[in-house]
């Protein structure tokens, strides 16, 4: 079956590849773009390990084909820290709360949480509901929930804007 070109902007960098249509986005990211921070777990949309941001929204990168991402903007775990290595507030919060043990599920949790952070703080109950699409076999989830709740309280540009908007709406 014929290969097709794919162009994406991933973590701010324009990249291209040439793939079989049956190649999933996660395999393209890992094998062709050599960004192996995104993990592939169940390969059928259950575990959430492969979660990335596609045009700003959390998606399972094992549940779409790379050719379908043509022209899209993608953000992965490699795009979280600043170019100078400065950790994203979410990464700092995960570190401070021991929000990972083996680390396999961490990139998926991190990208799911990054999308949540853009929309502003949640109650712990709502957060648990939102994180239920990602599986962790080590932590028992408590420390992950604590890490994301902590991150809601740390200043990120997007969270700051959301908080400002909420304050504005309350007036």
């Amino acid at each position: 079956m014929s290969r097709r070109p794919v162009h994406v902007k991933i973590n701010g960098v324009e990249r291209e590849g040439y793939v079989e249509p049956r190649k999933t986005l996660v395999d393209f990211i890992r094998e062709d773009l050599e960004l192996t921070g995104t993990h592939v777990g169940c390969e059928h949309g259950v575990c959430g390990a492969c979660t990335v941001l596609l045009d700003g929204e959390a998606v399972r990168s094992c549940l779409m084909f790379a050719v379908q991402a043509e022209g899209c903007e993608i953000r992965t775990i490699e795009g979280m820290a600043g170019p100078d290595g400065q950790l994203h507030p979410l990464q700092e919060a995960f570190r401070d709360n021991h929000s990972f043990q083996c680390g396999f599920c961490t990139p998926g949790f991190m990208m799911t949480a990054a999308a949540l952070l853009e929309e502003g703080p949640l109650s712990e109950e709502d957060l648990r509901h939102e994180l239920s699409g990602n599986l962790c076999r080590c932590t028992g989830y408590q420390s992950i929930v604590a890490g994301v709740m902590d991150a809601f309280g740390r200043s990120t540009p997007a969270a700051g804007q959301a908080a400002d908007a909420a304050t504005e709406a309350a007036r």
């Binding site: 097709r4 999933t24 399972r60």
Partner: protein, 290 residues
Amino acid sequence: MKPSAFEYHLAVSTDEAVGLLAEHDGDAKVIAGGQSLVPLLALRLARVDHLVDINKVPDLQGITANGGLRIGAMTRHREAERSALVRRHAPLLADALTYIGHAAIRNRGTLGGSLAHADPAAELPATLLALDGQVEVRNSRGTRTVAAADLFTGFLTTSLEPDELLTAISLPAWRAGSGWSVQEFARRSGDFAISGAMTVLSTGADGRIDDARIALIGVAPTAVRASAAEQALIGGAPSEELWASVAEAAVADIEPPSDLHGSSAYRKKLTSTLVRRSLAESASRIGAAA
């Protein structure tokens, strides 16, 4: 596992999509959100020779109010979930959407795709049945509409022909003041429900029920309406006793499947309980704004 090889076709118009389906008659499959199809391909439970991608077809997008509601087949769950039009004109659908998988699934999954996939444990086929909705269907020769009652013919099977594309969903006008409720039980949030019930209740000026809908999830090869139980509600005055007796009647004729999550008898009992709760919640919402 990895999907087997296929030829990929990116359609940019409905004409092109139905043209491709006609050209590869029977050998092509449509991909919309892919949240059910890609797992089936990855697990090699399904294989396709030609995949027709409709993600970039503009006229399959969008939600419009026309008395009722018309929703383009490529509308993603997340967009519908956030839509004020859906909340106002189809509150049952708005609630049902929140039960579908997780946000990352709803960001890709589409209304048309879910209906065409026809999973009996999924929310949208039951919602379409409960609301007496219909779908618009096209092939290269023309367009037809299919009522919900005629759409779902068996497990993961619809009455759509291989060359037909589901293009839009139509829902009739929401009767003002109707109460609605979605009740499901799943082991984990976001999982397919072990079973579920959704109901809509309306009352006349005398306070007695004059319209009732009960749709059941995960109890048969397709989503089903509990018609006899609905009839038993007509003319009744809302009460806990009525909900309990109707909930018994709603499961009288079903033979739910048994699997590792629960036996048939357990599912029957569970479904009855969910119907009772759903009727009580629907009744509590009668007259409330959506």
